[in-house]
Symmetry: C2
Subunit: 328 residues, 2 copies
Protein backbone atom coordinates (compact mmCIF):
# COMPACT_ATOMS: atom_id res chain seq x y z
CA UNK A 1 0.00 0.00 0.00
CA UNK A 2 1.60 3.31 -0.99
CA UNK A 3 2.00 5.76 1.90
CA UNK A 4 -0.62 8.17 0.55
CA UNK A 5 -3.39 5.67 -0.09
CA UNK A 6 -5.42 6.76 2.92
CA UNK A 7 -5.87 10.20 1.44
CA UNK A 8 -7.11 8.90 -1.89
CA UNK A 9 -10.09 7.03 -0.45
CA UNK A 10 -12.47 9.60 -1.84
CA UNK A 11 -11.52 8.78 -5.39
CA UNK A 12 -14.47 6.91 -6.73
CA UNK A 13 -12.57 3.74 -7.44
CA UNK A 14 -11.32 3.44 -3.87
CA UNK A 15 -14.34 4.50 -1.82
CA UNK A 16 -15.15 2.10 1.01
CA UNK A 17 -17.88 -0.32 -0.04
CA UNK A 18 -19.67 -0.17 3.29
CA UNK A 19 -19.89 2.20 6.26
CA UNK A 20 -21.63 1.39 9.53
CA UNK A 21 -24.00 4.11 10.71
CA UNK A 22 -24.62 3.50 14.40
CA UNK A 23 -27.85 5.02 15.66
CA UNK A 24 -27.42 6.55 19.14
CA UNK A 25 -30.60 8.62 19.31
CA UNK A 26 -32.27 6.38 21.88
CA UNK A 27 -29.36 7.10 24.23
CA UNK A 28 -27.48 10.29 23.33
CA UNK A 29 -30.61 11.82 21.88
CA UNK A 30 -33.25 11.02 24.47
CA UNK A 31 -30.94 11.69 27.43
CA UNK A 32 -30.62 15.27 26.17
CA UNK A 33 -34.36 15.89 26.16
CA UNK A 34 -36.10 16.70 29.44
CA UNK A 35 -39.29 14.78 28.74
CA UNK A 36 -39.38 11.09 29.53
CA UNK A 37 -40.44 9.19 26.43
CA UNK A 38 -42.60 6.16 27.28
CA UNK A 39 -41.17 2.70 26.83
CA UNK A 40 -43.78 1.87 24.20
CA UNK A 41 -42.87 4.98 22.21
CA UNK A 42 -39.19 4.07 22.48
CA UNK A 43 -39.95 0.58 21.22
CA UNK A 44 -41.81 2.11 18.27
CA UNK A 45 -38.79 4.30 17.52
CA UNK A 46 -36.44 1.33 17.82
CA UNK A 47 -38.56 -0.77 15.49
CA UNK A 48 -38.81 2.03 12.93
CA UNK A 49 -35.02 2.46 12.94
CA UNK A 50 -34.57 -1.28 12.51
CA UNK A 51 -37.16 -1.32 9.72
CA UNK A 52 -35.19 1.38 7.88
CA UNK A 53 -32.19 -0.96 7.88
CA UNK A 54 -30.15 0.20 10.88
CA UNK A 55 -28.41 -2.81 12.47
CA UNK A 56 -26.19 -1.04 15.01
CA UNK A 57 -28.19 0.77 17.65
CA UNK A 58 -27.28 2.16 21.06
CA UNK A 59 -30.24 1.27 23.25
CA UNK A 60 -29.71 3.31 26.40
CA UNK A 61 -27.53 3.54 29.47
CA UNK A 62 -27.32 1.95 32.88
CA UNK A 63 -26.96 5.04 35.04
CA UNK A 64 -28.62 5.94 38.36
CA UNK A 65 -32.29 6.69 37.66
CA UNK A 66 -32.25 9.80 39.84
CA UNK A 67 -29.59 11.30 37.53
CA UNK A 68 -31.08 10.32 34.19
CA UNK A 69 -34.70 9.16 34.59
CA UNK A 70 -34.99 9.20 30.77
CA UNK A 71 -32.86 6.02 30.70
CA UNK A 72 -34.65 4.11 33.48
CA UNK A 73 -36.21 1.57 31.10
CA UNK A 74 -33.02 0.54 29.30
CA UNK A 75 -33.29 -3.10 30.45
CA UNK A 76 -36.86 -3.32 29.09
CA UNK A 77 -35.75 -1.79 25.80
CA UNK A 78 -32.90 -4.31 25.58
CA UNK A 79 -35.50 -7.08 25.75
CA UNK A 80 -37.35 -5.57 22.79
CA UNK A 81 -34.05 -5.15 20.92
CA UNK A 82 -33.21 -8.80 21.49
CA UNK A 83 -36.22 -9.81 19.41
CA UNK A 84 -34.87 -7.94 16.35
CA UNK A 85 -32.79 -10.40 14.37
CA UNK A 86 -29.24 -9.40 13.51
CA UNK A 87 -29.35 -6.22 15.57
CA UNK A 88 -26.04 -5.33 17.22
CA UNK A 89 -26.73 -3.29 20.34
CA UNK A 90 -24.66 -1.16 22.66
CA UNK A 91 -25.33 0.35 26.07
CA UNK A 92 -23.51 3.10 27.92
CA UNK A 93 -22.29 2.51 31.45
CA UNK A 94 -20.51 5.09 33.61
CA UNK A 95 -18.97 2.64 36.10
CA UNK A 96 -18.57 -0.95 37.30
CA UNK A 97 -22.05 -1.06 38.80
CA UNK A 98 -23.57 -0.10 35.43
CA UNK A 99 -21.35 -2.63 33.71
CA UNK A 100 -22.56 -5.38 36.04
CA UNK A 101 -26.12 -4.65 34.93
CA UNK A 102 -25.08 -4.44 31.26
CA UNK A 103 -23.31 -7.79 31.47
CA UNK A 104 -26.67 -9.40 32.26
CA UNK A 105 -28.01 -8.27 28.87
CA UNK A 106 -27.29 -9.35 25.30
CA UNK A 107 -25.59 -6.09 24.31
CA UNK A 108 -22.67 -6.49 21.90
CA UNK A 109 -20.89 -3.39 23.18
CA UNK A 110 -20.58 -1.84 26.57
CA UNK A 111 -19.57 1.79 26.05
CA UNK A 112 -17.69 3.55 28.84
CA UNK A 113 -17.49 7.32 28.36
CA UNK A 114 -14.37 9.19 29.36
CA UNK A 115 -13.85 12.93 28.99
CA UNK A 116 -10.41 14.01 27.85
CA UNK A 117 -11.33 17.43 29.27
CA UNK A 118 -10.76 17.22 33.02
CA UNK A 119 -13.33 19.98 33.62
CA UNK A 120 -15.99 18.10 31.65
CA UNK A 121 -15.00 14.83 33.30
CA UNK A 122 -15.76 16.30 36.72
CA UNK A 123 -19.00 17.92 35.59
CA UNK A 124 -20.28 14.87 33.74
CA UNK A 125 -18.84 11.93 35.68
CA UNK A 126 -17.49 13.38 38.96
CA UNK A 127 -14.23 11.58 38.26
CA UNK A 128 -10.87 12.41 36.70
CA UNK A 129 -10.18 10.79 33.32
CA UNK A 130 -7.57 8.55 34.98
CA UNK A 131 -10.14 7.34 37.49
CA UNK A 132 -12.30 6.33 34.51
CA UNK A 133 -9.33 4.44 33.04
CA UNK A 134 -8.95 2.58 36.34
CA UNK A 135 -12.68 1.78 36.34
CA UNK A 136 -12.36 0.33 32.82
CA UNK A 137 -9.70 -2.00 34.26
CA UNK A 138 -12.20 -3.19 36.87
CA UNK A 139 -14.93 -3.56 34.23
CA UNK A 140 -12.58 -5.66 32.08
CA UNK A 141 -11.78 -7.91 35.04
CA UNK A 142 -15.49 -8.32 35.79
CA UNK A 143 -16.29 -9.14 32.18
CA UNK A 144 -13.50 -11.67 31.92
CA UNK A 145 -14.40 -13.31 35.24
CA UNK A 146 -17.94 -13.86 33.90
CA UNK A 147 -16.62 -15.35 30.65
CA UNK A 148 -18.59 -12.73 28.69
CA UNK A 149 -17.60 -11.76 25.14
CA UNK A 150 -19.29 -8.36 25.35
CA UNK A 151 -16.89 -5.81 23.84
CA UNK A 152 -15.70 -2.84 25.91
CA UNK A 153 -15.72 0.39 23.92
CA UNK A 154 -13.80 3.26 25.50
CA UNK A 155 -15.43 6.47 24.30
CA UNK A 156 -13.02 9.38 24.50
CA UNK A 157 -15.24 12.46 24.64
CA UNK A 158 -14.43 16.18 24.35
CA UNK A 159 -11.51 14.99 22.21
CA UNK A 160 -11.56 18.22 20.18
CA UNK A 161 -12.08 20.73 22.96
CA UNK A 162 -14.65 21.51 25.60
CA UNK A 163 -17.10 24.30 26.36
CA UNK A 164 -15.99 24.29 30.01
CA UNK A 165 -12.23 23.85 29.78
CA UNK A 166 -11.48 25.11 26.29
CA UNK A 167 -8.54 23.43 24.56
CA UNK A 168 -7.83 19.72 25.03
CA UNK A 169 -4.30 18.66 24.07
CA UNK A 170 -3.95 15.98 21.41
CA UNK A 171 -1.26 14.40 23.58
CA UNK A 172 -3.81 14.02 26.39
CA UNK A 173 -6.28 12.30 24.02
CA UNK A 174 -3.50 9.95 22.93
CA UNK A 175 -2.37 9.29 26.53
CA UNK A 176 -5.91 8.45 27.65
CA UNK A 177 -6.46 6.23 24.59
CA UNK A 178 -3.33 4.30 25.49
CA UNK A 179 -4.55 4.12 29.10
CA UNK A 180 -7.93 2.71 28.03
CA UNK A 181 -6.31 0.10 25.79
CA UNK A 182 -3.85 -0.90 28.54
CA UNK A 183 -6.74 -1.17 30.99
CA UNK A 184 -8.51 -3.61 28.69
CA UNK A 185 -10.79 -1.66 26.34
CA UNK A 186 -11.35 -3.59 23.11
CA UNK A 187 -12.34 -0.57 21.05
CA UNK A 188 -11.83 3.20 21.11
CA UNK A 189 -14.31 5.79 19.91
CA UNK A 190 -13.50 9.46 19.56
CA UNK A 191 -16.26 11.94 20.29
CA UNK A 192 -16.64 15.61 19.52
CA UNK A 193 -19.04 16.03 22.43
CA UNK A 194 -19.57 19.77 21.99
CA UNK A 195 -19.20 20.35 18.24
CA UNK A 196 -15.74 21.94 18.27
CA UNK A 197 -14.10 19.63 15.70
CA UNK A 198 -13.23 20.80 12.20
CA UNK A 199 -11.79 18.84 9.26
CA UNK A 200 -8.21 19.85 10.13
CA UNK A 201 -8.47 18.91 13.81
CA UNK A 202 -10.25 15.67 12.92
CA UNK A 203 -7.30 14.74 10.75
CA UNK A 204 -4.80 15.70 13.43
CA UNK A 205 -6.49 13.89 16.34
CA UNK A 206 -7.55 10.77 14.40
CA UNK A 207 -4.08 10.40 12.86
CA UNK A 208 -2.48 10.65 16.30
CA UNK A 209 -4.90 8.17 17.89
CA UNK A 210 -4.64 5.76 14.95
CA UNK A 211 -0.91 5.53 15.63
CA UNK A 212 -1.57 4.05 19.09
CA UNK A 213 -4.94 2.32 18.55
CA UNK A 214 -4.69 1.07 14.96
CA UNK A 215 -7.85 -0.71 13.91
CA UNK A 216 -9.11 -0.66 17.49
CA UNK A 217 -10.05 2.98 16.75
CA UNK A 218 -13.56 1.95 15.99
CA UNK A 219 -15.94 4.82 15.66
CA UNK A 220 -16.25 8.58 15.14
CA UNK A 221 -18.94 10.41 17.08
CA UNK A 222 -19.50 13.92 15.76
CA UNK A 223 -21.97 16.53 16.81
CA UNK A 224 -23.24 18.79 14.07
CA UNK A 225 -23.51 21.77 16.39
CA UNK A 226 -21.92 24.16 13.89
CA UNK A 227 -22.70 22.36 10.64
CA UNK A 228 -19.34 20.63 10.19
CA UNK A 229 -20.46 17.11 11.07
CA UNK A 230 -20.54 15.63 7.58
CA UNK A 231 -17.26 17.29 6.55
CA UNK A 232 -15.68 15.80 9.69
CA UNK A 233 -16.99 12.32 8.82
CA UNK A 234 -15.52 12.65 5.34
CA UNK A 235 -12.02 13.25 6.71
CA UNK A 236 -12.21 10.45 9.28
CA UNK A 237 -13.48 8.13 6.55
CA UNK A 238 -10.54 9.14 4.39
CA UNK A 239 -8.28 7.95 7.21
CA UNK A 240 -9.98 4.55 7.23
CA UNK A 241 -12.58 4.89 10.00
CA UNK A 242 -15.71 3.04 8.91
CA UNK A 243 -18.20 3.51 11.71
CA UNK A 244 -19.97 6.69 12.72
CA UNK A 245 -22.58 7.63 15.31
CA UNK A 246 -25.71 9.59 14.42
CA UNK A 247 -29.06 10.46 15.99
CA UNK A 248 -32.44 10.19 14.31
CA UNK A 249 -33.92 13.65 13.65
CA UNK A 250 -30.60 15.23 14.64
CA UNK A 251 -31.33 15.15 18.37
CA UNK A 252 -28.51 14.70 20.88
CA UNK A 253 -26.27 16.70 23.14
CA UNK A 254 -24.74 16.56 26.56
CA UNK A 255 -26.49 17.63 29.75
CA UNK A 256 -23.19 18.98 31.10
CA UNK A 257 -22.06 20.81 27.97
CA UNK A 258 -24.32 23.77 27.31
CA UNK A 259 -25.12 24.51 23.67
CA UNK A 260 -23.68 21.20 22.48
CA UNK A 261 -26.63 19.66 20.56
CA UNK A 262 -27.25 17.86 18.29
CA UNK A 263 -25.54 14.92 16.75
CA UNK A 264 -25.32 14.42 13.00
CA UNK A 265 -28.81 13.52 11.81
CA UNK A 266 -28.97 9.87 10.75
CA UNK A 267 -30.78 10.71 7.53
CA UNK A 268 -28.16 13.34 6.58
CA UNK A 269 -25.25 10.90 6.92
CA UNK A 270 -27.03 7.99 5.26
CA UNK A 271 -28.02 10.26 2.36
CA UNK A 272 -24.47 11.55 1.89
CA UNK A 273 -22.90 8.09 1.98
CA UNK A 274 -25.46 6.38 -0.24
CA UNK A 275 -25.25 9.28 -2.72
CA UNK A 276 -21.52 8.63 -2.88
CA UNK A 277 -22.20 5.00 -3.70
CA UNK A 278 -21.28 3.73 -0.23
CA UNK A 279 -23.61 1.09 1.13
CA UNK A 280 -25.02 1.72 4.61
CA UNK A 281 -27.74 -0.93 4.45
CA UNK A 282 -30.22 1.83 5.33
CA UNK A 283 -33.10 3.02 3.14
CA UNK A 284 -33.26 6.82 2.94
CA UNK A 285 -36.96 6.84 2.06
CA UNK A 286 -37.75 4.72 5.13
CA UNK A 287 -35.61 7.06 7.24
CA UNK A 288 -37.71 10.03 6.13
CA UNK A 289 -40.79 8.12 7.31
CA UNK A 290 -38.99 7.29 10.57
CA UNK A 291 -38.31 10.98 11.01
CA UNK A 292 -42.04 11.74 10.81
CA UNK A 293 -42.71 9.23 13.59
CA UNK A 294 -39.95 10.82 15.69
CA UNK A 295 -41.41 14.28 15.06
CA UNK A 296 -44.79 13.08 16.32
CA UNK A 297 -43.39 11.41 19.44
CA UNK A 298 -41.04 14.32 20.17
CA UNK A 299 -43.54 17.03 19.23
CA UNK A 300 -42.27 20.38 20.50
CA UNK A 301 -38.61 19.39 20.76
CA UNK A 302 -35.85 20.93 18.61
CA UNK A 303 -35.11 18.57 15.72
CA UNK A 304 -32.24 19.11 13.31
CA UNK A 305 -30.81 18.01 10.02
CA UNK A 306 -30.90 19.30 6.44
CA UNK A 307 -31.66 16.47 4.04
CA UNK A 308 -35.30 15.94 5.04
CA UNK A 309 -36.31 19.49 4.02
CA UNK A 310 -35.58 18.92 0.32
CA UNK A 311 -35.87 15.13 0.26
CA UNK A 312 -34.53 12.54 -2.13
CA UNK A 313 -33.17 13.87 -5.48
CA UNK A 314 -34.85 12.43 -8.55
CA UNK A 315 -31.43 11.18 -9.65
CA UNK A 316 -30.82 9.17 -6.46
CA UNK A 317 -30.32 5.43 -6.66
CA UNK A 318 -29.00 3.43 -3.74
CA UNK A 319 -25.72 1.54 -4.12
CA UNK A 320 -25.55 -2.23 -4.31
CA UNK A 321 -26.01 -3.69 -0.85
CA UNK A 322 -22.81 -5.19 0.57
CA UNK A 323 -24.64 -8.02 2.33
CA UNK A 324 -28.16 -9.26 2.81
CA UNK A 325 -27.73 -8.96 6.57
CA UNK A 326 -27.44 -5.22 6.45
CA UNK A 327 -30.22 -4.67 3.94
CA UNK A 328 -33.94 -4.39 4.40
CA UNK B 1 5.02 18.37 -7.07
CA UNK B 2 4.30 14.64 -6.63
CA UNK B 3 1.22 13.42 -8.55
CA UNK B 4 -0.81 12.81 -5.42
CA UNK B 5 -0.22 16.15 -3.73
CA UNK B 6 -3.70 17.45 -4.48
CA UNK B 7 -5.23 14.77 -2.31
CA UNK B 8 -3.02 15.54 0.67
CA UNK B 9 -4.08 19.18 0.95
CA UNK B 10 -6.06 18.49 4.08
CA UNK B 11 -2.98 17.46 5.98
CA UNK B 12 -2.31 20.33 8.31
CA UNK B 13 1.09 21.13 6.87
CA UNK B 14 -0.22 21.49 3.33
CA UNK B 15 -3.53 23.28 3.83
CA UNK B 16 -3.98 26.24 1.50
CA UNK B 17 -3.03 29.47 3.25
CA UNK B 18 -5.92 31.43 1.82
CA UNK B 19 -9.33 30.74 0.34
CA UNK B 20 -11.55 33.33 -1.33
CA UNK B 21 -15.13 33.33 -0.10
CA UNK B 22 -17.20 35.15 -2.70
CA UNK B 23 -20.45 36.55 -1.35
CA UNK B 24 -23.32 36.13 -3.81
CA UNK B 25 -26.26 36.85 -1.50
CA UNK B 26 -27.06 40.20 -3.08
CA UNK B 27 -27.59 38.38 -6.39
CA UNK B 28 -28.32 34.66 -5.95
CA UNK B 29 -29.88 35.30 -2.57
CA UNK B 30 -32.11 38.30 -3.20
CA UNK B 31 -33.26 37.08 -6.64
CA UNK B 32 -34.73 34.03 -4.90
CA UNK B 33 -36.84 36.09 -2.52
CA UNK B 34 -40.13 37.55 -3.74
CA UNK B 35 -39.92 40.81 -1.85
CA UNK B 36 -37.97 43.67 -3.40
CA UNK B 37 -35.36 44.86 -0.92
CA UNK B 38 -34.85 48.63 -1.13
CA UNK B 39 -31.63 50.00 -2.57
CA UNK B 40 -30.71 51.60 0.76
CA UNK B 41 -31.18 48.28 2.57
CA UNK B 42 -29.05 46.57 -0.07
CA UNK B 43 -26.33 49.17 0.40
CA UNK B 44 -26.47 48.54 4.16
CA UNK B 45 -26.09 44.80 3.53
CA UNK B 46 -23.22 45.41 1.10
CA UNK B 47 -21.41 47.66 3.57
CA UNK B 48 -21.87 45.17 6.41
CA UNK B 49 -20.42 42.37 4.28
CA UNK B 50 -17.48 44.57 3.34
CA UNK B 51 -16.99 45.55 6.99
CA UNK B 52 -16.79 41.86 7.93
CA UNK B 53 -13.87 41.52 5.53
CA UNK B 54 -15.47 40.18 2.36
CA UNK B 55 -13.63 41.54 -0.68
CA UNK B 56 -15.27 39.50 -3.46
CA UNK B 57 -18.96 40.27 -3.80
CA UNK B 58 -21.49 39.62 -6.55
CA UNK B 59 -23.55 42.78 -6.71
CA UNK B 60 -26.53 41.85 -8.86
CA UNK B 61 -27.51 41.07 -12.41
CA UNK B 62 -28.40 42.96 -15.57
CA UNK B 63 -31.54 41.13 -16.57
CA UNK B 64 -34.86 42.49 -17.86
CA UNK B 65 -36.62 44.23 -14.95
CA UNK B 66 -39.96 42.61 -15.80
CA UNK B 67 -38.37 39.18 -15.24
CA UNK B 68 -36.43 39.94 -12.06
CA UNK B 69 -37.55 43.25 -10.54
CA UNK B 70 -35.44 42.40 -7.45
CA UNK B 71 -32.32 43.19 -9.51
CA UNK B 72 -33.51 46.46 -11.09
CA UNK B 73 -31.14 48.64 -9.04
CA UNK B 74 -27.93 46.76 -9.84
CA UNK B 75 -26.34 49.80 -11.53
CA UNK B 76 -27.00 51.94 -8.45
CA UNK B 77 -25.56 49.25 -6.19
CA UNK B 78 -22.46 49.07 -8.41
CA UNK B 79 -21.91 52.79 -7.76
CA UNK B 80 -22.01 52.16 -4.00
CA UNK B 81 -19.67 49.19 -4.40
CA UNK B 82 -17.20 51.33 -6.33
CA UNK B 83 -16.67 53.47 -3.24
CA UNK B 84 -15.48 50.44 -1.20
CA UNK B 85 -11.72 50.24 -1.59
CA UNK B 86 -10.25 46.96 -2.76
CA UNK B 87 -13.62 45.37 -3.42
CA UNK B 88 -13.69 42.99 -6.38
CA UNK B 89 -17.20 42.87 -7.80
CA UNK B 90 -19.04 40.62 -10.21
CA UNK B 91 -22.37 40.92 -12.00
CA UNK B 92 -24.44 38.29 -13.74
CA UNK B 93 -25.59 38.83 -17.31
CA UNK B 94 -27.77 36.43 -19.30
CA UNK B 95 -26.91 37.79 -22.76
CA UNK B 96 -25.07 40.36 -24.88
CA UNK B 97 -27.47 43.15 -23.98
CA UNK B 98 -26.81 42.60 -20.27
CA UNK B 99 -23.09 42.41 -20.96
CA UNK B 100 -23.20 45.76 -22.76
CA UNK B 101 -24.66 47.31 -19.61
CA UNK B 102 -22.16 45.49 -17.39
CA UNK B 103 -19.24 46.72 -19.50
CA UNK B 104 -20.20 50.29 -18.55
CA UNK B 105 -19.54 49.48 -14.87
CA UNK B 106 -16.39 48.79 -12.87
CA UNK B 107 -17.18 45.13 -12.25
CA UNK B 108 -14.15 42.84 -12.25
CA UNK B 109 -16.15 39.82 -13.44
CA UNK B 110 -19.03 39.42 -15.78
CA UNK B 111 -20.67 36.09 -15.02
CA UNK B 112 -22.62 34.36 -17.78
CA UNK B 113 -24.75 31.47 -16.52
CA UNK B 114 -25.15 28.36 -18.61
CA UNK B 115 -27.16 25.31 -17.62
CA UNK B 116 -25.63 21.97 -18.49
CA UNK B 117 -29.14 20.58 -18.12
CA UNK B 118 -30.97 21.34 -21.33
CA UNK B 119 -34.34 21.28 -19.53
CA UNK B 120 -33.15 23.83 -16.96
CA UNK B 121 -31.51 25.89 -19.69
CA UNK B 122 -34.85 26.28 -21.45
CA UNK B 123 -36.75 26.99 -18.23
CA UNK B 124 -34.23 29.48 -16.90
CA UNK B 125 -32.76 31.10 -20.02
CA UNK B 126 -35.05 30.07 -22.91
CA UNK B 127 -31.94 28.97 -24.80
CA UNK B 128 -30.02 25.78 -25.38
CA UNK B 129 -26.65 25.54 -23.66
CA UNK B 130 -24.94 25.81 -27.05
CA UNK B 131 -26.81 29.04 -27.78
CA UNK B 132 -25.36 30.38 -24.52
CA UNK B 133 -21.88 29.33 -25.65
CA UNK B 134 -22.42 31.27 -28.89
CA UNK B 135 -23.61 34.30 -26.90
CA UNK B 136 -20.41 34.15 -24.82
CA UNK B 137 -18.51 34.41 -28.10
CA UNK B 138 -20.42 37.61 -28.94
CA UNK B 139 -19.85 38.95 -25.41
CA UNK B 140 -16.13 38.27 -25.73
CA UNK B 141 -16.01 40.12 -29.07
CA UNK B 142 -17.89 43.06 -27.54
CA UNK B 143 -15.56 43.20 -24.54
CA UNK B 144 -12.44 43.06 -26.70
CA UNK B 145 -13.75 45.67 -29.12
CA UNK B 146 -14.20 48.04 -26.17
CA UNK B 147 -10.69 47.36 -24.88
CA UNK B 148 -12.16 46.30 -21.52
CA UNK B 149 -10.25 44.01 -19.14
CA UNK B 150 -13.39 42.81 -17.39
CA UNK B 151 -13.09 39.03 -16.97
CA UNK B 152 -15.73 36.73 -18.43
CA UNK B 153 -16.71 33.95 -16.05
CA UNK B 154 -18.68 31.10 -17.61
CA UNK B 155 -20.82 29.63 -14.86
CA UNK B 156 -21.78 26.04 -15.65
CA UNK B 157 -24.91 25.40 -13.60
CA UNK B 158 -26.83 22.18 -12.86
CA UNK B 159 -23.43 20.52 -13.29
CA UNK B 160 -24.38 17.75 -10.85
CA UNK B 161 -27.92 17.08 -11.95
CA UNK B 162 -31.19 18.93 -12.24
CA UNK B 163 -34.62 18.81 -10.62
CA UNK B 164 -36.26 19.06 -14.05
CA UNK B 165 -34.09 16.82 -16.22
CA UNK B 166 -32.52 14.50 -13.68
CA UNK B 167 -29.04 13.26 -14.54
CA UNK B 168 -26.55 15.51 -16.32
CA UNK B 169 -23.66 13.66 -17.98
CA UNK B 170 -20.14 14.59 -16.89
CA UNK B 171 -19.14 14.48 -20.55
CA UNK B 172 -21.73 17.20 -21.28
CA UNK B 173 -20.33 19.41 -18.50
CA UNK B 174 -16.84 18.91 -19.94
CA UNK B 175 -18.02 19.59 -23.51
CA UNK B 176 -19.75 22.82 -22.49
CA UNK B 177 -16.73 23.91 -20.45
CA UNK B 178 -14.55 23.44 -23.51
CA UNK B 179 -17.12 25.33 -25.56
CA UNK B 180 -17.11 28.27 -23.14
CA UNK B 181 -13.32 28.41 -23.09
CA UNK B 182 -13.16 28.22 -26.90
CA UNK B 183 -15.76 30.99 -27.14
CA UNK B 184 -13.59 33.25 -25.01
CA UNK B 185 -14.53 32.77 -21.35
CA UNK B 186 -11.58 33.62 -19.09
CA UNK B 187 -12.81 31.61 -16.15
CA UNK B 188 -15.11 28.66 -15.46
CA UNK B 189 -17.25 28.18 -12.37
CA UNK B 190 -19.11 24.98 -11.59
CA UNK B 191 -22.45 25.28 -9.85
CA UNK B 192 -24.60 22.76 -8.04
CA UNK B 193 -27.70 24.83 -8.71
CA UNK B 194 -30.16 22.44 -7.06
CA UNK B 195 -28.15 20.80 -4.28
CA UNK B 196 -27.63 17.40 -5.92
CA UNK B 197 -23.82 17.24 -5.56
CA UNK B 198 -22.14 14.90 -3.11
CA UNK B 199 -18.43 14.53 -2.26
CA UNK B 200 -17.97 11.70 -4.76
CA UNK B 201 -19.66 13.50 -7.67
CA UNK B 202 -17.79 16.71 -6.80
CA UNK B 203 -14.53 14.83 -7.14
CA UNK B 204 -15.62 13.22 -10.40
CA UNK B 205 -16.91 16.39 -12.10
CA UNK B 206 -14.19 18.74 -10.85
CA UNK B 207 -11.42 16.29 -11.82
CA UNK B 208 -12.91 15.98 -15.30
CA UNK B 209 -13.30 19.74 -15.77
CA UNK B 210 -9.85 20.46 -14.32
CA UNK B 211 -8.41 18.32 -17.10
CA UNK B 212 -9.77 20.71 -19.74
CA UNK B 213 -9.85 24.01 -17.83
CA UNK B 214 -6.79 23.76 -15.57
CA UNK B 215 -6.42 26.83 -13.39
CA UNK B 216 -9.17 28.58 -15.35
CA UNK B 217 -11.58 26.47 -13.26
CA UNK B 218 -12.04 29.30 -10.87
CA UNK B 219 -14.85 28.78 -8.44
CA UNK B 220 -17.16 26.24 -6.83
CA UNK B 221 -20.76 27.26 -6.23
CA UNK B 222 -22.56 24.82 -3.95
CA UNK B 223 -26.05 24.92 -2.59
CA UNK B 224 -26.50 23.45 0.86
CA UNK B 225 -29.97 22.16 0.07
CA UNK B 226 -29.35 18.76 1.65
CA UNK B 227 -26.58 19.66 4.12
CA UNK B 228 -23.64 18.52 1.99
CA UNK B 229 -22.34 21.98 1.04
CA UNK B 230 -19.32 22.12 3.34
CA UNK B 231 -18.31 18.52 2.62
CA UNK B 232 -18.45 19.35 -1.09
CA UNK B 233 -16.23 22.42 -0.60
CA UNK B 234 -13.73 20.28 1.25
CA UNK B 235 -13.33 17.91 -1.68
CA UNK B 236 -13.08 20.69 -4.29
CA UNK B 237 -10.50 22.42 -2.08
CA UNK B 238 -8.55 19.18 -1.91
CA UNK B 239 -8.40 19.26 -5.71
CA UNK B 240 -6.94 22.77 -5.63
CA UNK B 241 -9.99 25.00 -6.11
CA UNK B 242 -9.55 28.07 -3.93
CA UNK B 243 -12.66 30.15 -4.47
CA UNK B 244 -16.20 29.37 -3.32
CA UNK B 245 -19.54 31.14 -3.49
CA UNK B 246 -21.74 31.61 -0.43
CA UNK B 247 -24.80 33.63 0.59
CA UNK B 248 -25.17 35.61 3.81
CA UNK B 249 -27.74 34.01 6.11
CA UNK B 250 -27.85 30.95 3.83
CA UNK B 251 -30.35 32.48 1.39
CA UNK B 252 -30.25 31.62 -2.30
CA UNK B 253 -31.90 29.35 -4.80
CA UNK B 254 -33.12 29.32 -8.33
CA UNK B 255 -36.54 30.59 -9.44
CA UNK B 256 -36.70 27.81 -12.06
CA UNK B 257 -35.54 24.96 -9.84
CA UNK B 258 -38.14 24.21 -7.19
CA UNK B 259 -36.85 23.23 -3.76
CA UNK B 260 -33.30 24.30 -4.60
CA UNK B 261 -32.51 26.82 -1.81
CA UNK B 262 -30.23 27.87 -0.23
CA UNK B 263 -26.58 28.40 -0.86
CA UNK B 264 -23.92 27.59 1.72
CA UNK B 265 -24.22 30.21 4.46
CA UNK B 266 -21.25 32.59 4.36
CA UNK B 267 -20.74 32.33 8.12
CA UNK B 268 -20.71 28.51 7.99
CA UNK B 269 -17.95 28.37 5.36
CA UNK B 270 -15.86 31.15 6.88
CA UNK B 271 -16.11 29.43 10.28
CA UNK B 272 -15.06 26.05 8.88
CA UNK B 273 -12.09 27.45 6.96
CA UNK B 274 -10.83 29.75 9.69
CA UNK B 275 -11.17 26.91 12.24
CA UNK B 276 -8.94 24.84 9.98
CA UNK B 277 -6.34 27.61 10.03
CA UNK B 278 -7.15 28.83 6.51
CA UNK B 279 -7.29 32.58 6.13
CA UNK B 280 -10.41 34.02 4.50
CA UNK B 281 -9.82 37.62 5.54
CA UNK B 282 -13.29 37.58 7.07
CA UNK B 283 -14.11 38.07 10.74
CA UNK B 284 -16.58 35.45 12.03
CA UNK B 285 -17.75 37.66 14.88
CA UNK B 286 -18.53 40.49 12.44
CA UNK B 287 -20.37 38.00 10.22
CA UNK B 288 -22.63 37.02 13.10
CA UNK B 289 -23.49 40.71 13.51
CA UNK B 290 -24.04 40.98 9.75
CA UNK B 291 -26.44 38.06 10.01
CA UNK B 292 -28.51 39.96 12.57
CA UNK B 293 -28.80 42.90 10.18
CA UNK B 294 -29.84 40.52 7.38
CA UNK B 295 -32.42 38.89 9.66
CA UNK B 296 -33.92 42.32 10.37
CA UNK B 297 -34.02 43.39 6.72
CA UNK B 298 -35.31 39.99 5.57
CA UNK B 299 -37.71 39.52 8.48
CA UNK B 300 -40.10 36.67 7.67
CA UNK B 301 -37.91 35.01 5.04
CA UNK B 302 -36.40 31.53 5.46
CA UNK B 303 -32.77 31.93 6.58
CA UNK B 304 -30.41 28.99 6.85
CA UNK B 305 -27.05 27.92 8.21
CA UNK B 306 -25.83 26.11 11.31
CA UNK B 307 -22.87 27.94 12.85
CA UNK B 308 -24.79 30.99 14.10
CA UNK B 309 -26.98 28.90 16.43
CA UNK B 310 -24.10 27.83 18.65
CA UNK B 311 -21.69 30.66 17.85
CA UNK B 312 -17.93 30.93 18.19
CA UNK B 313 -16.21 28.20 20.27
CA UNK B 314 -14.19 29.49 23.23
CA UNK B 315 -11.15 27.79 21.67
CA UNK B 316 -11.44 29.65 18.36
CA UNK B 317 -8.61 31.88 17.20
CA UNK B 318 -8.42 33.21 13.66
CA UNK B 319 -5.43 32.25 11.49
CA UNK B 320 -2.73 34.72 10.52
CA UNK B 321 -4.02 37.00 7.78
CA UNK B 322 -2.42 36.29 4.41
CA UNK B 323 -2.46 39.94 3.36
CA UNK B 324 -3.52 43.29 4.73
CA UNK B 325 -5.74 43.77 1.68
CA UNK B 326 -7.98 40.91 2.62
CA UNK B 327 -8.16 41.74 6.31
CA UNK B 328 -10.34 44.15 8.22
Amino acid sequence: MPPDSASTLLRKQTLPAHIVVREVGLRDGLQSIDRIVSTSDKIQLLQSLYAAGLRHIEIGSFVPTRLLPQMADTAKLMEAAYRLEGLETSVLVPNLRGAQTALQTNARYLMVPLSASHAHSFANLRKTPDEVVAEVGRIRAERDSRGSTMLIDGGVGTAFGCTLQGHVAVSEVVRLTQGLLDAGADRISLADTVGYADPASVREVFEAVLRVAGDRLWCGHFHDTRGLGLANVLVAMELGVHRFDTCFAGIGGCPHAPNSGGNIATDDLVFMLESMGIDTGVDVHALLEQRKLAATILDGEVLRGAFWRAGVPITFSPPARASAGGAL
